[in-house]
Every structure is written in structure tokens, then in C-alpha cells.
């Protein structure tokens, strides 16, 4: 049994304590147990109150069982599942005694909806309290009455924000929103609960949960007038479309359902919710998003068996450029001391300035209090020499991408740091092994490839060499997780995974441009596919010089197929370096239009060798082919790492489930056939299908098996 019922002083207690689990999930099984417990409570006329609580530490109920949602294949099946849950929560809501959810930890998804069905909610001051409805992240929406009850409880605008962004709120915010009625200290929770019950019984808290919140002024007008509500719905649709470009149906469906059931009674409203859920739960997008959830959770939970990670308190950062400055800020944000070194104070000032700007913006947007920003900013100190490096736990090097310079830096570092110091390089493509050779202890050397802009990009590639020790990897993994990033572990090899796959695609985009497709057309093909930006916009963001440099490294390490196309070299040579120089493939001064000088000497558009569909396949299949090579070479051990890398490192559309999941959806046979066809058509070896791909095809397997 995962749910127990007992009574104390005429108060009933339903307590969740799922067997063999750290958390409570609202599985079908447990819902049944809950139904039975509620039935038992209903038959006790002497009860004065019913409390629903959890015996797990820091967890109320973490959500529904995702496996069950993943298993839904028919809309009707989804509808039935939702109805079953709704029915049980309705039972809870309809109990004649006051019902109280005691939330001392995470209450997400179904857990939040269960709490909403209670008449009262008491949360604790526990920092771990998170209440929210994250369902949209899985391509669905809350369907145990969440879309019906939440807008009524906390008001339409706030409820829409919570449901459409999926972002949970902490205890303080929950109290402010009216999502909980009171906060109590964890210590002496029983006494606080008794007082709360006393207050309820004495009528000190309004018994109708939807009538407790008082809105005033403009917000009240917006919420209560039909016109105001219409405006809120309209604005929500606009903002969702802006954020998702229409690729994600769940938030739009959620708005549609709320717009409907906001004006319906409970029975009809919940029916609308259940039906909408059933439709969404069977979409490929939802399945893909669930897949992405699983593989990214896997990466976030990566650990190294048998070793304990060293605690990282202080980090040396070499190079205060865009990456070094960004890394310094990120570390300080996670309360790690930073010793930032560069060759002159102007360079250091640049790094410090960029960090300060991020903190200033955070304060301006009220994401941080001014004193918090000061305390964190104060964690960055600057130096021109290696003073303060001896006792660093880790040093992250982010100097210019030049092997000679990197070698020199590692030689110097090896002499300057202590025996405990991990030496990490933030190279995007260079050999970590080569750098490690310059040090006294190559076991301490590892690659840490952050993406630009560091504070925003959720991925870090961790690169291990043959010498990297388990301890070094374990400590680095812990650090990356502490920084709030998702790690993928990659074996040292040219270009690692993300850049290797991405740059083949960028190069192919360059070929399409040379063949006569326009800049805008190629970019649009990819944004229509779901990429956050097209290849040329991306190149402008990163800098053409950076892109071309990495391509050269890849060409040297991996061969001809990465030889930068002429147009990159030409454009680069003319000083069009992208956004940073004001001109790249696009112009950034004044109007944002394609740079006419880029395509001036090329063939006119009508002579293009590929139509749009073929162009898309050329770019995508080259990526898939390169990913297959990475698996073949054993650089990563599973397709999940590649998909996580591409989604979080390059913005590859999550609704496709990632690059290799997308390949699986298309089918490997058609991909191999198309690659062969392209190889013949263009007489180009780069399209030759990788052996790994052929093998999977021959064995009728998929990347994910």
C-alpha cells in the first residue's frame, strides 16, 4: 500500500508514501488507492477535517506517471484516463468535511491538481516547495481539473502563465498568488496544522476556495469582465505563438480549453479538458517531448560509479573574452569563487563588464535582489598573473582557439596550480589530449565545452581523454550540474559531437547558397523545419571567422567533407564577420536585410540545383550521417547524448524529439537511399552513408532500440 488512512482527534489523514520510491507519483494504481481512502473517509460522519499529506522528504506528489501518458495510443484512451482521475479528485472536492493539502515539497502536475481539489492548502517554508503544472513541457496540458480549477483559484492571468509556461512557483509566490492559504514552519508542523484546522472550523477562512482572493483595480476589471478575459486569451495566444512559432500545439490547445471551460460548469468543463487531453496525448509531438524529457533526465542524472566528486569552491578562469567572461559570471552565479586571468586589464574589464551587465539585468527584471547581485558579483576577482591559482579546485581555460597558445597555457598552468586542481579547456574543437600532454598530471585534464551565450545555453559537452581519471570526470559532472547545465560526456576527438554535426550542416547551407539558393530561402527552410534560426543567421551570431576556423580544424582532423566552401572564405576575407562586425550574411546596421555583397558574384537563383525539399534533406541527412559516424567511432555511447547535445546545444527542435529520433521517424532505409541518390547526383563523397547507418538499416534497426 502506498496510501494510508488514519485518524487523530477526529481528523482524518490520508498519507502518500509510495513503495520503493523516493517520490510519490499519481499512477493509476495509486489513484485507485486514493479513491478507496476517500471512500473510507466519506463514510466517517464524525470527521471534522481531512488532511492529505506526504511522508516523503521534500515531496508532496511529484506528478503523474509519465510512462502511463507515454503509453496512451488512442484519444479515447487518454480521455478515459483523464476522466478517471477527474472523477476521483471530484470526489475529494465534494467531501462534506473541510479538506486540506499539506504541501512540504514539490507538488507538480497531478500533485498540484490534487491540492487544487482540496478546499484548503497549507504549504511550508521549506525551500524545496515547488507548485506547478509543467505538463506543456511534455506536449500535453493538465487534465485532472487543473485547467478548470487553477484559473478560478488564482485568477486567469496568473493561471495562464503557470499552465502555458509550465514553470512552477515557490512557496512565497504561491502564497502571494493565493495558490496556498498559509505558510507554516516545517518545525512544529503538526501544531501549525492544528491551528489551521481550528481557524477553518471557526470560520476564520472563507470556505469557498474560489472566493478567497481579492483582486482590485485594473486586474479585477480584466478578470471579471468578458472583454478583459477576451483580451487575456488573445494576448496569451500571441505570446505563445511568439515563443513557440506555432510548432507546439499543447499551449494553444490549453488556451482553447481554458477559454471554453472557464464559462462552463464543472461537469462540462472537465469533459472539455479530458477530450482535449486525449487528443494531445496521442500526438507525435507529445511522444517526442516525453522522449526528450527521458534522455535529458538521463544526462542530468549522470554520475560516475565508485568515486566521490571533489567539492568545487574556487575556479580559475583563463581569458576574459566572451566565453571566459560568461563562464566567470555563471560560476559566480552558482556561488563559486572565480579568479579571472587575462593578459591586460582592458581584457579583464571586458569580462567583468559583461558579468556585471547580466547581474544588472537580473536585478532590473526582479529576478534577483540588489544585494544578491552584489554578493555574487563580488565572487569574481581579476589578475594578470597566476596568483590565487594554487588553491583553485578547477581552472577553466577559455583563451583563443589556437593549439600553440593552448599548449603554452597548459604548460604554465601545470606549474601554477596545486595537485588537486582540475584543468579544463573550453575548446570547441581542438584536441584535449594534445593539451593534456603538456601537463604533469594528464589525469586531471578534461574538456568543458560551454556554448555561447554561456548563461543561456543549457548544454555543456564534457570531453574526456584516455587519461582523464574517474575522479576528474565525477567532479566535473557535479560542477556542470551545479551550474544548472545539462552535460553530455564525449570522448576526445576532432570537433567532439555538437560542432562536428552542426558545421557539416552549415557548410552544406553554404553550398546551397553557392548553387543559387538565396540566404533568406535557406534560412527559411530551416526555421520552417523548427530550428530557432537559419544557418546563416546562426553563423552571423557566432561569427564567420569562428565558424570558418572550426571548419578548418574539422577538415584537418576529419577530412575533405569539412572543407569550408569558397563563399565562407570569400565573405570572411572581406571582413564580413557577422553581427559583431555589423555585416555578415545579413546587414545589422539600419535595416536587417541580406548583405547584397555576399551573393554578388554567384549564379542567379533560378539555376539552383536543389528545390527546397531536397535542400532540407541535404542539410538534415548530412547531420544524421555525421551523427551515425560519431556513434560508429564510439565518441558517445548512446544516441540520446547526441539528441540532447543537438537540442540543448543548437536548438534542434525538441518537438521532433532530436536529430536521431527524427531519423528514426523518417526511417533509416529512406535516409540511406536518399544519401546514395544525392551522392550520385552531386558526385560527392560527403553523402556516402556511414557504415553504422548501413548496418542499422541492414539489421532493420533504429537508432533507438
Amino acid at each position: 500500500m502506498s496510501i494510508t488512512y488514519h485518524e487523530n482527534n477526529n481528523t482524518g489523514f490520508i498519507e502518500f508514501d509510495q513503495k520503493d520510491s523516493k517520490v510519490n507519483l499519481l499512477s493509476a494504481e495509486i489513484l485507485k488507492e486514493l479513491a478507496a481512502a476517500l471512500e473510507e473517509a466519506r463514510r466517517k460522519p464524525h470527521l471534522k477535517a481531512l488532511v492529505i499529506a506526504s511522508k516523503k522528504k521534500d515531496v508532496f506528489i511529484a506528478g503523474a506517471d509519465i510512462k502511463e501518458i507515454e503509453g496512451i495510443t488512442q484519444p479515447e484512451e487518454g480521455r478515459q484516463k483523464a476522466k478517471a482521475g477527474q472523477g476521483i479528485l471530484n470526489k475529494l472536492e465534494d467531501l462534506p468535511v473541510p479538506t486540506i493539502a499539506v504541501i512540504d515539497g514539490v507538488a507538480l502536475g497531478g500533485g498540484c491538481e490534487l491540492a487544487l481539489a482540496c478546499q484548503y492548502r497549507l504549504a511550508t517554508f521549506n525551500e524545496k516547495v515547488r507548485i506547478g503544472l509543467p505538463e506543456v513541457n511534455l506536449g500535453i496540458f493538465p487534465a485532472f481539473g487543473g485547467t478548470y480549477r487553477l484559473p478560478r483559484l488564482i485568477g486567469l492571468p496568473e493561471a495562464m502563465t503557470m499552465i502555458l509556461t509550465g514553470k512552477p512557483v515557490d512557496a512565497k509566490k504561491a502564497l502571494r498568488l493565493g495558490l496556498v492559504d498559509r505558510l507554516a514552519p516545517q518545525n512544529g508542523l503538526d501544531r501549525s496544522l492544528n491551528e489551521f484546522i481550528e481557524d477553518i472550523l471557526k470560520g476564520r477562512i472563507i470556505s469557498n476556495k474560489y472566493a478567497r482572493r481579492k483582486a482590485r483595480g485594473l486586474p479585477a476589471f480584466l478578470e471579471t469582465s468578458f472583454l478583459g478575459q477576451w483580451l487575456i486569451f488573445r494576448r496569451s495566444v500571441q505570446s505563445v505563438l511568439k515563443n513557440t512559432k506555432g510548432f507546439y500545439p499543447a499551449p494553444l490547445q490549453a488556451i482553447a480549453v481554458i477559454k471554453k471551460n472557464f464559462y462552463l460548469d464543472r461537469t462540462k468543463g472537465l469533459e472539455a479538458e479530458a477530450r482535449g487531453f486525449g487528443e494531445l496525448a496521442t500526438t507525435a509531438i507529445s511522444k517526442n517531448l516525453i522522449h526528450v524529457f527521458y534522455i535529458s533526465e538521463q544526462c542530468r542524472k549522470l554520475t560516475v560509479e565508485g568515486v566521490s566528486p571533489a567539492r568545487i569552491e574556487k575556479c580559475g578562469v583563463l581569458g576574459a573574452g566572451v566565453m571566459g567572461g560568461g563562464i566567470a559570471q555563471l560560476l559566480s552565479y552558482s556561488d563559486i569563487w572565480v579568479r579571472l586571468k587575462d593578459i591586460n586589464y582592458d581584457a579583464l574589464a571586458l569580462g567583468v563588464r559583461s558579468a556585471a551587465k547580466l547581474y544588472r539585468d537580473a536585478v532590473k527584471k526582479r529576478r534577483m535582489k540588489p544585494h544578491e547581485a552584489v554578493v555574487k558579483m563580488d565572487k569574481i576577482t581579476t589578475t594578470l598573473d597566476y596568483s590565487g591559482f594554487t588553491n583553485a579546485d578547477i581552472v577553466i581555460e577559455a583563451v583563443v582557439e589556437n593549439m600553440e597558445v593552448k599548449r603554452k597555457v597548459f604548460r604554465e598552468l601545470s606549474a601554477a596550480v596545486g595537485p588537486q586542481t582540475i584543468l579544463a579547456t573550453n575548446t570547441s574543437a581542438l584536441s584535449v589530449t594534445e593539451m593534456a600532454k603538456e601537463t604533469k598530471d594528464p589525469a586531471k585534464v578534461i574538456g568543458l565545452h560551454f556554448f555561447n551565450p554561456v548563461h543561456k545555453m543549457p548544454l555543456v559537452e564534457i570531453i574526456t581523454t584516455a587519461h582523464t581519471s574517474k575522479e576528474t570526470l565525477a567532479s566535473t559532472l557535479t560542477l556542470v550540474k551545479r551550474l544548472g547545465k545539462t552535460p553530455i560526456v564525449v570522448k576526445d576527438s576532432c570537433g567532439f559531437v555538437v560542432n562536428r554535426i552542426l558545421l557539416g550542416y552549415i557548410n552544406e547551407a553554404g553550398r546551397l547558397l553557392e548553387e543559387g539558393l538565396s540566404i533568406v530561402a535557406v534560412d527559411k527552410i530551416m526555421t520552417d523545419f523548427g530550428m530557432p534560426m537559419g544557418p546563416f543567421t546562426l553563423t552571423d551570431e557566432v561569427g564567420l571567422d569562428v565558424g570558418s576556423k572550426v571548419l578548418h580544424i574539422l577538415e584537418k582532423g576529419l577530412g575533405e567533407r569539412f572543407k569550408p566552401v569558397d563563399i565562407f572564405e570569400k565573405v570572411c576575407a572581406r571582413g564580413f564577420l557577422g553581427k559583431k562586425s555589423g555585416k555578415g550574411f545579413y546587414l545589422y546596421q539600419g535595416q536587417h536585410v541580406p548583405n547584397p555583397a555576399v551573393t554578388a558574384g554567384t549564379k542567379p537563383g533560378d539555376g539552383a540545383a536543389s528545390d527546397n525539399e531536397e535542400a532540407l534533406r541535404r542539410m538534415l541527412y548530412l547531420m544524421i550521417n555525421e551523427a551515425a559516424r560519431c556513434l560508429e567511432e564510439g565518441i558517445v555511447d548512446a544516441p540520446g547524448a547526441i539528441d540532447v547535445g543537438m537540442i540543448f546545444g543548437t536548438g534542434f527542435p525538441a518537438f521532433h524529439g532530436g536529430l536521431l529520433r527524427y531519423a528514426d521517424t523518417i526511417g533509416l532505409a529512406p535516409i540511406v537511399a536518399e544519401l546514395n541518390r544525392l551522392r550520385d547526383k552531386f558526385q560527392a563523397e560527403r553523402f556516402r552513408p556511414a557504415a553504422y547507418l548501413m548496418k542499422l538499416q541492414d539489421e532493420k534497426k533504429k537508432f533507438y532500440q
Binding site: W337, R339, Y345, D346, L348, A349, V352, R353, A356, V374, V375, D378, K379, T381, T382, T383, S387, G388, T390, N391
Partner: protein, 424 residues
């Protein structure tokens, strides 16, 4: 008793009030020096037994500023901290507190320093305005509020300048500059002598610029973080005697001789010292810059506060069992040129020595060993910091020239003198 080692020290550049450091709070300045001290020495913060900082203006938003500095610098929260205030000698007081605590075996390793942001000393509301504003917050109805507000008179809006109040002695009623004028008259020190002394301070500071760099951590100041301040910005290139002579007396406009040119500058800056018992320094494998041999504090008349060093110096020599000629380098803080010159005259006078019983402990001070790299007239005088700065500057100088003994001394607002003898 165990010797008190000063292991290392560091300070921020000194910047004139209202210039590059105007957006750095005193706690931030102190944090920069303290953190840099930890970084450069490589000492584990948990080794620190206590943090002691001197500070005069005591910012309202950083009560017990030493504790704020300690926490902002990454020293464990379990390490206590307290702030000391002995006016201009606060920085010395912090170091002396550490020394005494080590000798009392209360601990063996301290961070002591001083910090001051004179740019951030607030203006105060007039008492009348304060009362009206207090009443306003109590007023309930709108007419009541209006009625309260209507009591404001233009004169009430004149703020009281915190800096000026801080520099004015509440007992004798004189602002510091006027106490310097008292000494100028008493010792017959001319405007020309003072200006020449001031010029020499600038010339020496400019000559010593690269040397002083050894004790300075460059600071990239907010809010713009545009570039690093690597040097003190007080010393004036191309300072000429004629230009100094043109300045009007500031405190006594009619008959005075003290100008802003021959007085110390109002300045922002902080300094931090790592102080430990000799034994602890050995354990930590850190080589000390030098040791504190003796210290002395004395009281004098508030309206003659600038004479403090003339009393503190013989007294500290007596304590150390040393003669003036045993001392190889001297720093006397240049609060005012006239005040330093008055001290030199007094120390060189047999009558003065006889009157106070200092025979054998006074004498002429060779100007070539006094304030060799300039003083507060050129570098500035962030009041709470200067004492710690003098110890640091002296120790670096002694190490540079392989000197064994050095003496530092300051006059102290309110009528005190302080002196410390350092040795290697």
C-alpha cells in the same frame, strides 16, 4: 612574548573623493583588499581567527562593516569580525588589536585593515525636516498630511554635510584645518614652507609610482567597469610651487596659511594586512614582511590635534627601548603640511623634550628618510584606512631597501597621536 608578524598586505589605489571610486561602498573597497590578500597569500580562509577593520564614517547600510567585509570576502561565517574607530588611527588600531589578541593568545591569525569611502558619506536632513517627515508618516488623513507638509520652510531643506561634521571637533568646535592653523601660528610655520613641503610630497609620490604599485591591487570600478584603476590618482603631474602659492587659504580665509593644496586630500580607499604570530607564520610557511615591535597612543589638546606625533614618537621609542637614530625610515601622516612641520620642530626642540620628559627620545628627523614616496598630501587620506596603509607602505619600503627598523605615526582628530615601530 611572541613576535607579531605582518605577513602580507595589499591596498586598493587611493582615489580622490567623487572620482573613479565614487560608486564603490566602503565595504566593497574593504572586500577588494581583503579578498586579494587571501588570493595573493593563498591562505585558506578558515585559518583566519578574526577580522578587524578600522572605519571612520561607519556607513549606515553596513553596520559593523568588518563583518560585512569578512563575509563578502569569502571568510567563513563562523569567523567573527568587529569594527574599530579611533578616528584617523583606526587602521592602526585594527592592527594593534590583532597584535594584542595574539599576545593574549586569543588567536594566532588575523586580517586587520582599514576602509573608507569619503565619496559616500551622506548628507543629513535638517532636524526640522526630519521631524516634519516623521509626523507625515504618522498623519492619517489627507488634510493632516497636507497640513504637516505645509510646515516645511526653504531653510529646512539645507542638508547638513556629513563629511564636514565628521571633520569638525565637537569639543573645541574647530574643523581640522583650523587646528592646523593653530599649529602654524604657534610654531611660526610659513605658507612658503608648507607649500614647499606639499610640492615635495607630490614629486616623491610621482617618483615612487612604480614602487607603490607593489602594494596596490588594480580595481575595475563599477558601475561602468570601463577600465582598471592601477594607481593612486592624487599625485599631480606638473605640480608647481607657483600654482600652490595661488590657492586661497581654505579654513581661515583672511589670515590663514592652510590651503587645500598643502592639506591631505579627501579620498576613497582600503588596505588589508594579514597578521599572525611568528609561530603561525612558520606553520603556514609564509614569510613575513616584518614585525610589530611597539605601539603607542597618546592624548593631546583637541585644538592642537596635529601635534600628536611629536608625543607619540618619543613614547613609542621609549616603549621599544630605542632612540630616534635607530630608526631607518619614518612615515608621519601628512594630514596638513604645517602639522608635520610643527611635529618636526617640536621633536627637534630641547625645550619640548624637557617639558614632557622625552629627553633622549627626540631629535632632528632627516627629511630624506621621511615619507620617501610621498604622503597624504599627494596620495590622499582615506581616514579609516591611512593607518593600515602606512604600515603597509613602510614594510614594503623596508623590504625594498633591506632596512631593519621603521616608524610610522599619525595625528588623530579629537586630539590624539599614534605611533608604531616596525622591524624586520
Amino acid at each position: 612574548m611572541e613576535r607579531i608578524a605582518i605577513i602580507e598586505g595589499i591596498r586598493t589605489p587611493f582615489c580622490k573623493m567623487g572620482t573613479e571610486f565614487k560608486d564603490l561602498d566602503a565595504q566593497e573597497l574593504g572586500r577588494i583588499a581583503t579578498r586579494e590578500l587571501l588570493e595573493r597569500t593563498g591562505i585558506a580562509p578558515r585559518q583566519i581567527d578574526e577580522v578587524i577593520f578600522g572605519n571612520v564614517s561607519q556607513p549606515a547600510d553596513a553596520a559593523n562593516i568588518a563583518r560585512v567585509i569578512s563575509l563578502l570576502s569569502g571568510i567563513p561565517k563562523t569567523v567573527p569580525a568587529y569594527t574599530v574607530h579611533r578616528n584617523c588611527a583606526s587602521g592602526i588600531e585594527a592592527a594593534v588589536q590583532a597584535a594584542m589578541k595574539i599576545q593574549l593568545e586569543q588567536g594566532s591569525c588575523y586580517i586587520a585593515g582599514g576602509t573608507e569611502s569619503m565619496s559616500n558619506i551622506p548628507f543629513y536632513l535638517s532636524k526640522e525636516l526630519k521631524e516634519i517627515l516623521t509626523n507625515l508618516s504618522r498623519a492619517k488623513t489627507f488634510p493632516q498630511k497636507l497640513q504637516t507638509l505645509s510646515q516645511i520652510r526653504p531653510a529646512y531643506l539645507k542638508p547638513r554635510v556629513g563629511l564636514e561634521m565628521g571633520l569638525t571637533d565637537p569639543v573645541c568646535g574647530m574643523i581640522m584645518g583650523l587646528t592646523a592653523e593653530v599649529l602654524a601660528k604657534e610654531f611660526g610655520i610659513t605658507r612658503e614652507e608648507q607649500d614647499a613641503f606639499a610640492l615635495e610630497s607630490h614629486l616623491r609620490a610621482l617618483r615612487g609610482k612604480t614602487l607603490l604599485r607593489e602594494e596596490i591591487v588594480p580595481v575595475i570600478p563599477p558601475p561602468k567597469y570601463r577600465s582598471a584603476v592601477e594607481h593612486d590618482n592624487g599625485p599631480r603631474e606638473g605640480q608647481r610651487l607657483e600654482a600652490l602659492a595661488k590657492l586661497k587659504p581654505y579654513f581661515d580665509r583672511r589670515s590663514g596659511t592652510v590651503t587645500v593644496g598643502n592639506s591631505s586630500q579627501v579620498t576613497d580607499g582600503a588596505a588589508a594586512l594579514l597578521i599572525a604570530s611568528e609561530q603561525k607564520a612558520k606553520e603556514l610557511n609564509l614569510k613575513p614582511l616584518g614585525f610589530i615591535k611597539a605601539y603607542a597612543f597618546v592624548g593631546v589638546e583637541p585644538h592642537r590635534m596635529g601635534i600628536g606625533p611629536a608625543h607619540a614618537i618619543p613614547q613609542v621609542l621609549k616603549k621599544a627601548g630605542m632612540r630616534l637614530q635607530d630608526i631607518q625610515a619614518i612615515e608621519i601622516n601628512e594630514a596638513f603640511a604645517t602639522q608635520v612641520l610643527a611635529c618636526l620642530k617640536a621633536l627637534d626642540s630641547a625645550a619640548f623634550a624637557k617639558e614632557f620628559g622625552y629627553e633622549g627620545y627626540t631629535g632632528a628627523i632627516d627629511r630624506n628618510i621621511l615619507n620617501v614616496n610621498g604622503g597624504a598630501i599627494a596620495l590622499g587620506h582615506p581616514v579609516g584606512t591611512t593607518g593600515a596603509r602606512l604600515i603597509l607602505t613602510m614594510l614594503k619600503h623596508m623590504n625594498r631597501h633591506n632596512l631593519n627598523t621603521g616608524l610610522i605615526s599619525l595625528c588623530v582628530g579629537g586630539g590624539q597621536g599614534a605611533a608604531v615601530i616596525l622591524e624586520r
